[in-house]
């Protein structure tokens, strides 16, 4: 084993050296970008730039390394030289993988380690750092391992259909995509482990059978099938997109409606029906007329009258929407503001603003509710901002809103409330058309707009009729000093709730306070009619996936999943994929268990399942049976119809045979 590992390391040392140079240059570029701008407010170790460069480099390098490790010995005689040695094929596979992953770790890890040491050395980076910030880079680094196995698989597979050799890359791509979407870091690690495990098992299976499907252990076959299904789904998807280009794309099909606020404070209802002009009515259902023409207003004209809004979302009670771990990771420490010679970050861990000197690149202290402290902790006092306060003027605790003066490193209380009416959220209103810098503050029971001195311009109660009313949209109306506050379901996941309870609108004037308010009537549930291109797309989607989406009510479609999607998906599976699969299975005399297994597979996975089935299977030739003259498979010792064995080679009368063994 050691000899094989050494051989593999030596054999691939060139590509490793090349990778090392490329990776080092990429990190040097990150370094140069950072040091070129001393006031750069970012932590280079947690920067999007390093995350993307790591993701790209690890994926490509892993793929190339894995591919080369097999390709170097793919010539038949060299492969035979490798395989024909007194060790198991599993041992040969393991030797290659140990060497490959060691080289991968070296090439990817060494420059990164150097970069981390540089960034962590005091005086180099003027930004907060904590270990969790390295998690995205670590995840992308590990996500290169599935690419490594995908590279090996691509060269190892003896596929009849040449293009199908690269289908294994699909699962690695899926892993890269989904690791940024999981709620927790451990889930991403699990995803990488599963992806790499499937691909590694498929490669191991390929080593057992010189890359053929036939002759692999059952787990190798299963892993190969699983490894290709994602690639086949991508292929089917791309095929559907290409086919869709043959159809005219209609902008909208179905019906939908929504409300909008005009600059003069009128709430209008937009109703969109496929094939018809958009209908714009008031809340009583009367068409909105253009005062100049007396005709129903055109949408373009209406759009110019829409009021600008400031939006603020408060956390919804009982619902903890934490987002993905990568999103959370990005807000561990957020750039806040910079002065001439200092950079300030809001560091979530300490709940304080932390300052760095631009010249020395070292921490100068922190600002908390009780003022400046030379260390990070202060006296333990901390702000309670849950949202990213990037560029914000104010910070808050549960009961006090503070204004920060970074030049003097002091803070001043702007607004105070009682403990039973805590501050839920606040937002700077800096738009010039809102009449000067204000702050919108929402507490548990009220919403108010404060001027720069912290005095209320107006105030209204916040008594939500629906628990989902957590989104605040503040409109500045005409004439000036008129406002409308529209409270509606907040957050991107409340689409359906937004149709049922579109919101509560309060009209407010600077002097008079609340003028009037209304609850907006529920909107009709939107109907979505699939277009021809959508139908093609449904046809190539795995029926099991579509059914899961429908059962789990996953919010992939704004108006809910159209029922036709299931019909098309299951229809293509039942009417096309299953019959083709069963016909091929019968033609090539699959055993009953295999036929049933593939039948279920095709039924559940539809078109991508069929592509996978066609990709992995090897179809033996058929010849007429010498006895019954019907086609029979050449890999079976007997004819399945008449039971005849294969005829011995025809005699020519020139054969020379004599016994070689004594007795």
């Amino acid at each position: 084993m050691k000899a094989l590992v050494r051989k593999e390391m030596r054999e691939n040392v060139r590509i490793a050296a090349l990778g090392l140079v490329v990776h080092t240059l990429m990190l040097l570029s990150q370094y140069r970008d950072y040091v070129a701008v001393p006031a750069n407010m970012s932590q280079p170790l947690a920067d999007r730039g390093i995350q993307w460069s790591t993701a790209w480099f690890c994926g490509i390098f892993g793929l190339v390394l894995g591919w080369l490790q097999v390709h170097n010995e793919r010539r038949p005689d060299l492969w035979a030289f490798l395989i024909h040695r007194p060790m198991t094929r599993s041992g040969i596979f393991l030797g290659k993988v140990i060497a490959g992953l060691a080289l991968y770790a070296l090439v990817v890890g060494l420059p990164l380690l150097g970069f981390i040491i540089w960034a962590r050395f005091p005086g180099h980076v003027a930004a907060p750092f904590e270990l969790a910030m390295l998690q995205p880079v670590a995840a992308y680094l590990l996500a290169g391992i599935p690419y490594y196995f995908a590279g090996m698989l691509s060269d190892l597979r003896q596929a009849r259909w040449y293009a199908s050799r690269v289908l294994g890359v699909g699962i690695a791509l899926a892993v890269s995509l989904f690791i940024s979407l999981t709620p927790e870091f451990w889930q991403s690690l699990l995803l990488i482990l599963v992806g790499a495990g499937i691909l590694a098992t498929a490669v191991w299976g390929g080593f057992q059978s010189d890359g053929h499907y036939r002759g692999q252990p059952a787990c190798g076959k299963a892993a190969l099938t699983a490894a290709l299904i994602v690639g086949c789904q991508i292929l089917a998807f791309l095929g559907a997109v290409l086919m869709s280009n043959f159809f005219l794309r209609t902008a909208f099909s179905g019906t939908s409606s929504y409300y909008a606020m005009t600059t003069n404070g009128i709430v209008c209802k937009f109703t969109q029906v496929a094939g018809r002009q958009v209908e714009i009515t008031d809340l009583e259902g009367k068409p909105l007329l253009d005062q100049a023409t007396g005709k129903p207003i055109e949408q373009s004209e209406f759009n110019s009258r829409l009021a600008a809004a400031i939006t603020l979302n408060v956390p919804r009670a009982g619902r903890l929407d934490r987002g993905t771990w990568m999103q959370r990771d990005l807000s561990l420490a957020s750039p806040w503001q910079a002065t001439q010679d200092t950079l300030w970050y809001y560091w979530n861990r300490y709940g304080r603003l932390v300052g760095y000197d631009v010249a020395t690149r070292r921490c100068i202290g922190s600002l908390g509710p009780k003022g400046f402290a030379a260390d990070l902790l202060g006296s333990g006092d901390r702000f309670s901002n849950a949202e990213r306060p990037l560029g914000s003027r104010a910070l808050s605790t549960a009961t006090t809103l503070f204004q920060v003066d970074l030049e003097k490193r002091t803070i001043r209380a702007l607004f105070t409330t009682k403990a039973d009416n805590p501050i839920l959220a606040h937002e700077d209103v800096t738009r010039s058309d809102f009449g000067g810098p204000h702050t919108l503050v929402v507490t548990k029971r009220s919403a108010q707009l404060l001027n720069i001195e912290g005095k209320p311009i107006w105030q209204t109660t916040y008594e939500p009729a629906q628990a989902s009313y957590t989104g605040f949209h503040l409109f500045h109306l005409e004439p000036p000093d008129q406002f409308a506050l529209w409270i509606s379901p907040g957050g991107p996941r409340d689409e359906v709730e937004r149709e049922r309870h579109p919101g509560h609108v309060v009209w407010i004037a600077r002097e008079q306070g609340v003028i009037r308010s209304t609850d907006l009537p529920a909107l009709a549930v939107p109907h979505y009619a699939p277009r021809p291109e959508d139908r093609i797309m449904f046809c190539v989607m795995p029926p099991a996936l579509m059914a899961s989406i429908a059962i789990l009510h996953l919010p992939l479609w704004p108006a809910g999943m159209p029922p036709e999607s299931l019909w098309f998906s299951w229809g293509s599976s039942l009417l096309v994929c299953l019959p083709i699969g069963l016909w091929l299975g019968r033609r090539y005399q699959f055993p009953l268990a295999a036929l049933a297994g593939w039948g279920v597979f095709l039924l559940l996975l539809g078109v991508p399942g069929l592509l996978t089935f066609l990709s992995v299977q090897e179809w033996p030739a058929r010849e007429p049976c010498p006895n019954c003259h019907r086609p029979r498979l050449v890999d079976r010792p007997r004819c399945d119809r008449c039971g005849a064995e294969w005829a011995p080679p025809e005699k020519t009368g020139t054969e020379v045979f004599a016994p070689l063994l004594a007795g």
């Binding site: 030289f81 040695r85 059978s209 010189d210 036939r214 010792p637 063994l661 007795g663």
Partner: protein, 309 residues
């Protein structure tokens, strides 16, 4: 001789697409001695060897080698089998010495003296890189790597390809050296008939993917005869002759090569009423060429002659 065959195949068949490369090969190779597998290019020799070593899955049929199923050769079986590949491919970036060191790590029976002896015989410098070796030198290195573990069974796939006469002689001597131990077996495929004549005890002949002969070399040699028939004028058209391999026609002469020459053959030839009929000696090479040439139509000359009324 040990009665247990060292290689046994039963109905071994391999298709590439719809084309059979080896068809229903049933063969037994006795332990000890040298067994030559012969045939024209594309007759299935390399495919057979690859299947025997578990490097290629048979389409159907099976076999055993040293008592192990060829579909699942364990490491201990591979340790007892030396295999020399046809193209003599090795890692170009390795030096001759590194190749030896690499190979020696895997084979517990590695004999460095043999390795050094063979590379010395081929004039290979231990520091020379494989990529800088000529094809013949590479063949020598491959041979050294194959012989040094002192395998019980040596399988050589066309080992003489690219070798000059001196190197070929060295190869043959190596084979003779190896078979000093009576339980060692060499199974090799080749086109070099003088080498076969020098070292082979038994032969098997593959013709268009089918085994046509499997016997001791002497039996094969004795089975093939060449007869020269002289005629006063042009030789008559050739009737159907049992065991006819080839016939060459020239002015007043017909030279016929047959297998299983017997009374019926002789009677058929005498029926042509030749003025003179005599058996002529035939070399093993000529015998093979006749045996592996096209059947039925025979030679180009005869086809043309037969086309005349």
């Amino acid at each position: 001789m040990n009665e247990q065959p060292v290689i046994r195949t039963q109905g071994l068949t391999r298709y590439f697409g719809a084309q059979p490369a080896v068809y229903e090969l049933s063969l037994e190779v006795p332990r000890g001695g040298v067994f030559a597998l012969l045939g024209r290019n594309g007759s299935g020799k390399t495919t057979t060897i690859r299947m025997l070593l578990g490097l290629l899955e048979p389409t159907r049929g099976g076999g055993s080698i040293l008592g192990y199923d060829i579909r699942s050769l364990p490491p201990e079986a591979r340790a007892r089998i030396g295999y020399l590949t046809e193209e003599h491919q090795l890692y170009g970036w390795m030096s001759v010495r590194e190749c030896g060191e690499f190979q020696s790590r895997f084979f517990p029976t590695w004999n460095d003296k043999i390795f050094r002896g063979v590379i010395g015989h081929f004039g290979l410098r231990p520091t020379a890189y494989v990529k800088s070796l000529s094809r013949g030198e590479r063949a020598g290195l491959c041979l050294a790597l194959t012989l040094a573990p002192e395998p019980e069974l040596l399988i050589l796939d066309d080992p003489a390809v690219g070798l000059d006469p001196v190197a070929r002689r060295a190869l043959v001597e190596s084979m003779i050296y190896l078979t000093r131990r009576s339980d060692r077996t060499i199974f090799f495929s080749t086109h070099q008939l003088p080498d076969v004549e020098r070292v082979a005890d038994h032969i098997a002949v593959l013709d268009h993917s089918v085994l046509r002969a499997c016997c001791p070399l002497e039996t094969f040699r004795n089975s093939i005869r060449q007869v020269r028939l002289r005629f006063p004028g042009s030789p008559p058209a050739l009737p159907k002759i049992p065991g006819l391999l080839q016939a060459f026609r020239s002015e007043g002469e017909l030279r016929v090569t047959c297998v299983h020459y017997n009374g019926a053959t002789e009677a058929a030839l005498r029926g042509l009423a030749p003025a003179q009929m005599e058996e002529t000696p035939i070399s093993l090479e000529d015998a093979f060429i006749s045996y592996l040439g096209d059947r039925g139509e025979k030679s180009f000359i005869l086809s043309e002659t037969e086309a005349q009324p």
